[in-house]
């Protein structure tokens, strides 16, 4: 038997393990980042503002939305408000991480919170949930975040540069990289009936509420999915106890 009660791992090895496990998601983010960079100029965003967005906002979906709003002449306060709504889902990610970050310093919490993208959250939360007694998983989380961050900014830069050389690149439809990556993340979760029910619900609601402004449909779909999952959990659990 292996004693899992206290497993010491060096911060460096955890950092690289996190980066390694994030590699497939980094690959998925490459076309996405390049497209963002190429579209920016067409939308009327300057080179510095585009790099600034990837460096300081670091939230792919909302960065894309801001480009389409800019292109249609939307005022800045409205773009900031839309960013808030589109990124609201990350508050749920923060809530999920609270128990795992509770012994960290405020600086660590701020750094890791800054990097709480869809991809790093998905990778890190599943590592935290492995009950193997490994200490210091925040280094794993950090490794995932740094890899995503460097890649995102490099790809934005490449896109900005390549956009000038190949203006038609934005019409290749490389935006499929994001759904492809997310499908790959979701599939391993689909191991129980409540999980299936919650995902099917979220998908259905996201279509039904797709016409709502500012991507509000996303939050509605997420809330409906979680609620259906919890109800199914209760129903299936009670059935098991009876049977």
């Amino acid at each position: 038997m292996v004693d899992f009660s206290l497993v010491k791992r060096s911060p460096v090895s955890l950092f690289f393990e996190g980066a390694k496990d994030t590699f497939p998601l980094v690959v998925g983010a490459i076309p996405f980042g390049i497209i963002f960079g190429t579209l920016a100029e067409t939308a009327g965003l300057s080179f510095h503002a585009t790099m600034g967005m990837s460096l300081f906002v670091f939230a792919g979906a909302s960065q894309f939305v801001s480009l389409s709003l800019l292109a249609s002449g939307t005022a800045s306060p409205m773009i900031v408000l839309t960013t808030f709504v589109v990124n609201l889902r990350h508050m749920l990610y923060g809530a999920s991480m609270v128990p795992f970050y509770k012994n960290l310093t405020s600086l660590w919490k701020m750094v890791l919170a800054f990097g709480l993208t869809d991809e790093t959250f998905a990778v890190a939360v599943s590592r935290y949930n492995q009950e193997d007694g490994v200490q210091g998983k925040h280094y794993y989380n950090f490794g995932s975040m740094v890899f995503m961050y460097l890649n995102w900014n490099l790809c934005t830069f490449i896109g900005l540069t390549a956009g000038k050389a190949f203006p038609e690149i934005s019409r290749w439809g490389l935006d499929f990289a994001m759904p492809a990556t997310f499908i790959g993340i979701v599939i391993p979760y689909l191991v129980s009936k409540p999980m299936w029910a919650s995902v099917v619900t979220a998908g259905t609601v996201s279509i039904l509420a797709g016409g709502l402004p500012h991507k509000m449909g996303l939050m509605l779909a997420a809330i409906a999915g979680v609620m259906v999952g919890l109800v199914c959990e209760k129903v299936f659990l009670e059935n098991q106890e009876k049977g």
Partner: protein, 115 residues
């Protein structure tokens, strides 16, 4: 004095976006010490990653052009997504799923553009 008005406007926009995004991602940590989440809420959080991602995937695949639902089989996003589901389900390998479904998507897009 600042003369580059557009430049300044961009700075405000990027700073605003950065601020709201960081506050959203961080806010739960300082406020969580003051109360404990109900057990039901904590159980619900386990559904968050797949549910949120699905709510992003489905509209981008079935409504690729924004408005109308496109369930036709000449929608390359739908073909690519179906391929990703099959490949992911069979091989359980994330990198393979992303790369192969991208190839299927680009192939489908190319074929439909010709036909």
């Amino acid at each position: 004095m600042f003369t580059a008005g557009i430049q300044l406007n961009e700075i405000f926009m990027v700073a605003g976006m950065a601020l709201v995004t960081f506050v959203i991602r961080y806010i739960m940590f300082p406020i969580s010490g003051r109360f404990t989440f109900p057990k039901l809420f904590e159980r619900g959080l386990r559904y968050v990653p797949p549910v949120v991602l699905t709510a992003i995937i489905v509209p981008s695949v079935l409504m690729p052009n924004g408005g109308a639902l496109d369930l036709k089989l000449n929608n390359p996003y739908l073909i690519g997504a179906l391929a990703a589901c099959v490949i992911g389900g069979v091989f359980k390998n994330l990198l393979l799923t992303i790369v192969l479904s991208m190839v299927v998507f680009l192939g489908a897009q190319w074929v439909f553009a010709m036909g």
